[in-house]
Amino acid sequence: MPIKTLEVIRKRLEERPAELRKLRESGQKVVGWTGYNVPEEIIYALGFIPIRIAIGGDDRLVEVGGRYASSKNCVFIREIVGVFSENEDPYIQQTDILAFDATCLQNFRAAEVIEYYFKKDVIVLGVPRNFYWEEGKEYFGKEADEFARLLEERAGVALDLAKLGESVALYNDIRKTLKSIYTFQAAKDNVISWVEVFDLIQAGDLLDKKEYLSLLHETLAELRALQHNPIIEVDGSEGRIFISGSLIPRGDRKLISIITSVGGRIVGDDIWTGILPHLDLEIKEISPAGVALGYLNRTPHAALPYLDLESDRRLKKLHELLGEFKAQGVIYHTLRYCDPFTFKAKETKDVLAKSDIPVLEIHTEYAGSDYEALRTRLEAFVEMIKIKAESAAEVIV
């Protein structure tokens, strides 16, 4: 049975660009942000409208962006640059200020390219590579103060800590509700799919936050009405797939559609446009530094190097999520020239192999030329994990 609120959300997304235009006409400003540790609560608390710039899937824009950056940048960054070059995306058109972070060096360079060629007002938040050192955290706290100061300058008001507190509470509620909804997609006899939840998560990048929260509550209520007690368990030969690796932004549906078309059921992810950034975000102090540290202390993004394999929290989290969602195989997705994830592909495969978890690495870009090849490989992989699951079930019987 379709979830009615999802329909409402789709409609609201269609209306949103026009709405943003009106809000801007009435004096409000839109901050477009991209990166992996941008503390959005600060942007919101200052009265800006935050929207996430995470767009992909268009090979033509990749080519356009590559002319300004280079053909050796990740396809995601190239497309972002291409989007600014063409200025036709209805959301991008509405941005007044851009906020980037330096988690990934390529994101940092994208900020420079967009600032240089398209004369955008860009704020950049520095991110420590030694993020687990006390000194690194202190540095990040100061960067967050500076980030807030630069935004205050543009907002023309000082950051009100009471408003920041409200903002944190709102975002915390969004994260908590998303987590609850996410459980339903992985459940037995699920009433919502991972793809629908994935879209729902990404809708939050663009919609008004308060409205988004109430839509999430409505979605959750509907889900609870449809499925009283969602239980995550393996059901025969479903081919339960977990997606890991480089982000999959709005507009990029190639991998997801192939997986579902070959009969795989996606039940979880740890990608940075999926559920991962919403997990384990604990803000202990209401201040720019406090909020920022909450972000930094989550599961680290792969662009932040961690030098001890045994205690790597990214891999620990991956294992935890695989267990929680009872995944039977991992598709490790790497975008062309996405070094943070590509450099770790073999290592991740080796680590998962020790836990006897099958992994398929998919290295791809936005062009459609590898579609058939990917389809063949994914079909074989899904088939393989189904057979593996069936034989495991037989043993249990």
Partner: protein
């Protein structure tokens, strides 16, 4: 290569060469010019025949400007890398893998030896004796393949993985600056965590970005990184590192940096190029005092060379093999430069590069807290600034070096230099009208691809 067909230094040069200065090493020992001559004419041709190749365009071949003693001494230091580093390490100096284009004062202050990727490669190369040019190229490719296999085929910089994890090279620590310059280095460091060599210590010296030198907290953070670095190296070396140690090292390295700046200014002022491009590059780089894995050795050779360059410039002596009025090229970008032999054959010469020169030409304040001073200087490297600031500095170098054109080169897989290439070139063209060209290098090896060289030659012709 037929091993008998090797280059030989003219014996009649011996007397003149043996009258030149000795190389002084950091441990107090020295190599007289006679020692160097003996090694370069008797020993090295047998141990390292590839360097004596007669192949005209081979990047590893010895400089033919034989009257410039530093050229021979530079090759001596490069070919004795394995002997010297192995010995120093056995005597207790930990060896640390660093990045190219960064200063190394804190590593030496703590009693270590800092080697950048190229120098680590030289050390590894020195352990394989008797190889001709082709065999050496095959060996290098095989090593790199190992790293690609263990990390990623899209990797450009593998932080020495192939040598340290898979080649048995006894590096004690991998601790480069993680600056914006290199897209791969910090992931390369991280990759070591899954290698078999668990003894190697890993550390990223975290370089903040975006107006970093103007932010007190960024300078403070980088200074803390440097303190941790010297403390860790000190532990490996079995000593406590004091502020005075670092101050002393900064003064020493400033001497090299100043000397390199003076040498460059002399070189650039000359009507006729006083050296060929290969020797010019070696001279400037000696100011960074890291290329040979022994700052004192680099400094003594640079001091002596400075006097030679001065004499050549004063007397209007032109380097052998260079045309009278060559087209002057300035090279921007990372870790790759066009083949000097081919460039010179086409009637041009490379007069400078931003890579390495950015750190060598950045002096460090000597009074006050050495960690703060060093951190501030390092965060001020022009190469690591916004495009407008980097371009303004590059334009200053173009003017000083009287460059006619700019080549921006980067390696395939270099994400951060490739991304700034067009912005930098557009700014240079906008502000000076100097023509620029961007080229990507696809393969390494001893000779460059025809395609790359054809493009460079077309650029030279256009100029």
């Amino acid at each position: 290569m037929v091993k008998t067909d090797l280059y030989e230094y003219p014996p009649e040069l011996r007397e003149e060469f043996e009258a030149t200065e000795a190389i002084q090493f950091r441990d107090g020992s020295s190599a007289t010019a006679a020692d160097v001559w003996h090694f370069m004419t008797e020993i090295a041709p047998k141990r390292y025949p590839f360097a004596y190749t007669q192949k005209k365009y081979a990047g590893v071949r010895l400089s033919r400007d034989i009257h410039l003693p530093s050229a021979i001494k530079n090759h001596y230091l490069l070919l004795t890398m394995n002997d010297r580093i192995t010995r120093s390490r056995e005597n207790g100096a930990p060896v640390i893998f660093v990045q190219g284009g960064q200063s190394v004062d804190p590593y030496y202050a703590a009693g270590g030896i800092a080697l950048r990727p190229a120098s680590v490669g030289l050390w590894a190369r020195g352990r394989h004796e008797g190889l001709g040019l082709n065999e050496e190229v095959v060996r290098q490719h095989k090593q790199k393949e190992k790293a690609y296999h263990a990390i990623s085929f899209e990797a450009c910089q593998t932080a020495g993985y192939e040598n340290i994890q898979e080649g048995g090279l006894p590096i004690d620590m991998v601790a480069p600056f993680t600056c914006l310059r290199c897209s791969d280095i910090s992931y390369g460091v991280e990759a070591h965590r899954h290698g078999p060599n668990k003894a190697v210590k890993l550390m990223n010296i975290d370089y903040p970005m975006r107006h970093q030198a103007d932010k007190t907290w960024a300078v403070e953070y980088f200074a803390q990184n440097l303190r941790r670095l010297t403390s860790e190296i000190g532990k490996l070396a079995g000593r406590e590192v004091t502020d005075a140690d670092l101050s002393k090292e900064i003064r020493l390295h400033n001497e090299g940096r100043r000397l390199a700046i003076e040498t460059a200014e002399l070189w650039w002022s000359a009507d006729l190029p006083p050296t060929n491009g290969v020797d010019r590059r070696s001279l400037y780089q000696m100011g960074g005092m890291e290329v040979h894995g022994d700052p004192s050795a680099s400094l003594t050779v640079l001091r002596e060379s400075h006097a030679y360059i001065k004499e050549r410039v004063n007397k209007g002596i032109k380097a052998e093999g260079v045309v009278d009025k060559p087209i002057r090229l300035f090279v921007c970008g990372s870790c790759v430069f066009p083949n000097d032999f081919r460039i010179e054959e086409a009637g041009a010469i490379i007069v400078g590069q931003d890579n390495h020169w950015s750190d060598i030409s950045t002096l460090v304040e000597e009074d006050g807290d050495p960690y703060q001073n060093l951190a501030h200087a390092i965060l001020s490297y022009p190469y690591e600034q916004s495009v407008e600031v980097r371009a303004a500095w590059t334009i200053e170098q173009l003017k000083k070096s009287r460059a006619d054109g700019v080549l921006f080169l980067y390696q395939w897989g270099c994400n951060t230099q490739s991304a700034i290439a067009r912005m930098l070139c557009d700014t240079i063209k906008r502000d000076t009208g100097i023509p620029t060209m961007i080229i990507e290098q696809h393969e390494g090896g001893s000779e460059q691809s025809e395609q790359l060289l054809n493009r460079v030659n077309a650029f030279i012709e256009m100029l």
